[in-house]
């Protein structure tokens, strides 16, 4: 029985290193986001997706600009 308890609740992990998020927290978070924003799931996916993509694209742009400046200075 204890192993069942343990395995059953193994999904209740919260954010430490790379454990798994609690499904209850996810449901609660979804409800709150829906309550506050009132926007559709598609809109939220697009917003979060753009936010996720913007960071690496911006960082790569900065790194490339730095490298280009270095090359220009070398010439």
């Amino acid at each position: 029985m204890w192993i069942e308890t343990t395995l059953h609740s193994a999904l209740g992990l919260i954010l430490h290193h790379s454990e798994y998020v609690d499904p209850t927290l996810v449901d609660w978070l979804k409800d709150k986001i829906n309550q506050i924003t009132g926007v559709s799931a598609t809109t939220i996916v697009v917003v979060l997706g753009v936010a996720t993509a913007a960071f690496p694209i911006g960082l790569m742009a900065l790194a490339l600009r730095r490298a280009r400046r270095a090359r220009r200075h070398n010439r």
Partner: protein, 446 residues
């Protein structure tokens, strides 16, 4: 974060030290790597229906994944020492991205156990964690604590961004598409950052750690430039096993794993046993996560200006206070006290433990040693998850488990305070007079 060093290639003053670009790249790989693994919980209900299986069987994949990820850390560390963090992370991210897509192709729960529990979790060990902190430790010496904190904060941000992203993706599509998209994000955005930006050593680009000018005496907490070898740096990592700090750090981090693992898995069940609703417990988790992210950065920054072992000891004792609240306070008061005290100490142990490891053992075998310490954490967590389950089944309460958690945290605090940082950390070494370029720190074996 301007620094005084000129770019070695252009001789122009560097506005932002290149190491911070690497920190930003690793922040993002932690965000997508940790975030996509944490997103596992989102798919449980749909897998239950789609695979026609029980939560218990799906949990086997999760449990195996945790253990495999812990066991693979020393391997990832050893590979990092041998081939460099950039190569290991590149391979890890390619593998992790493909395995994430592979999860979306699994026909049944057994496929999920193999693909997620073994393949994805093993490859994730190479994508972030030990290789990440090892590379950052090479780029930063004075600001090591803060730099590692920023990278770790990426994991916290991943939980806040990737998990809702996965949850809403599931609403508008199906679970297979969601895993394809997450795998695509790892390959399309994470991989180019590592390949394009991450470099193993500052010397590869002609920089000094922290972007310092050579031998800058102006920096308040600068390590004397002549000292290149940490006091317990050895040729082979096996020699480190005979030194006390490795055991002190491992024991303390083992306790970190015990207490976070126990709470992570059993907190909701405890809350329910105290007549607290699951929603309220989830809200407390949210508060804990936010305090965790803020506390992590603050503690990492402070740790660069004071003895790290004292701060580490305080963090463990603060967490012990959180367990004391669970033992003595009634339901709601215990919940919120734990959320605040636990949040302050949740991830803060990581930058100080990794920072101390690099300060004491140097960079030659940093990957392997970090991996060993990380393994003790994960194994402690695994044991505690099972033990706390047994305690609840036998006594119908978590009281004994929380008392054990409190006792081990006090032990971890005492052990952390007992680390002789002044003797063994490179931060406190003084160069011998008239030896401007020779390492002065002895490589003794304690």
């Amino acid at each position: 974060m301007a620094n005084g060093q000129n770019s070695p290639k252009t001789n122009e003053p560097e506005v932002v030290f290149y190491g911070w670009y690497i920190v930003a790249a690793m922040f993002f790989t932690s965000l997508i790597g940790v975030g996509s693994r944490q997103g596992f919980g989102v798919f449980v209900k749909v897998w239950e229906e789609d695979f026609g299986t029980s939560v218990g069987m799906i949990s086997v994949a999760a449990g195996i994944g945790w253990t495999v990820n812990g066991l693979v850390q020393p391997v990832a560390g050893s590979l990092t020492d041998r081939f460099g963090g950039r190569r290991v992370m590149t391979f890890g991210l390619i593998g992790m991205g493909l395995a994430t897509i592979g999860v979306g192709l699994m026909p049944n729960v057994y496929g999920l156990i193999v693909m997620y529990g073994f393949v994805l979790s093993a490859l994730a060990g190479g994508a972030f964690g030990t290789p990440t902190t090892s590379v950052i430790s090479r780029w930063f010496q004075r600001k090591r604590g803060m730099a590692i904190s920023f990278v770790m904060a990426g994991g916290s941000a991943g939980g806040l961004i990737m998990v809702p992203f996965a949850a809403y993706l599931l609403v508008i599509s199906d679970w297979r598409t969601a895993w394809f998209v997450m795998g695509g994000i790892i390959l399309l955005f994470g991989l180019p950052l590592v390949v394009g930006i991450v470099r193993d050593n500052p010397a590869d680009m002609g920089f000094e750690p922290d972007g310092d000018s050579a031998g800058d005496p102006e920096e308040p907490n600068a390590v004397p430039h002549q000292i290149r070898v940490a006091p317990l740096e050895t040729t082979h990592w096996r020699d480190s096993v005979h030194s006390a700090p490795l055991w002190q750090l491992s024991v303390a981090f083992w306790v970190c794993g015990i207490t976070t693992g126990m709470i992570a898995v059993h907190f909701v069940r405890w809350a329910e046993s105290q007549d607290i609703s699951a929603g309220t417990a989830a809200l407390a988790f949210g508060v804990l996560s936010v305090i965790n992210g803020a506390g992590l950065i603050v503690v990492g920054w402070i740790s660069d200006y004071m003895p790290r072992k004292n701060l580490l000891g305080v963090v463990y004792l603060v967490r012990a206070g959180a367990f004391l609240a669970l033992i003595f306070l009634p339901g709601q008061a215990a919940l919120w006290s734990f959320a605040v005290l636990g949040g302050m100490s949740w991830l803060a142990t990581v930058p100080m433990t990794n920072g101390l490891t690099a300060d004491i053992y140097g960079l030659r075998n940093i990957g392997m040693i970090n991996g060993l310490i990380m393994m003790s954490h994960q194994l402690g967590g695994g044991v505690a998850v099972i033990a706390a389950g047994v305690v609840f089944d036998v006594w119908g309460t978590y009281h004994a488990a929380f008392v054990a958690g409190f006792a081990t945290l006090v032990l971890a605090g005492v052990v952390s305070f007992s680390i002789n940082e002044r003797k063994y950390s490179i931060r406190y070494q003084k160069p011998l007079p008239n030896t401007p370029t020779v390492a002065t720190a002895a490589s003794d074996g304690d």
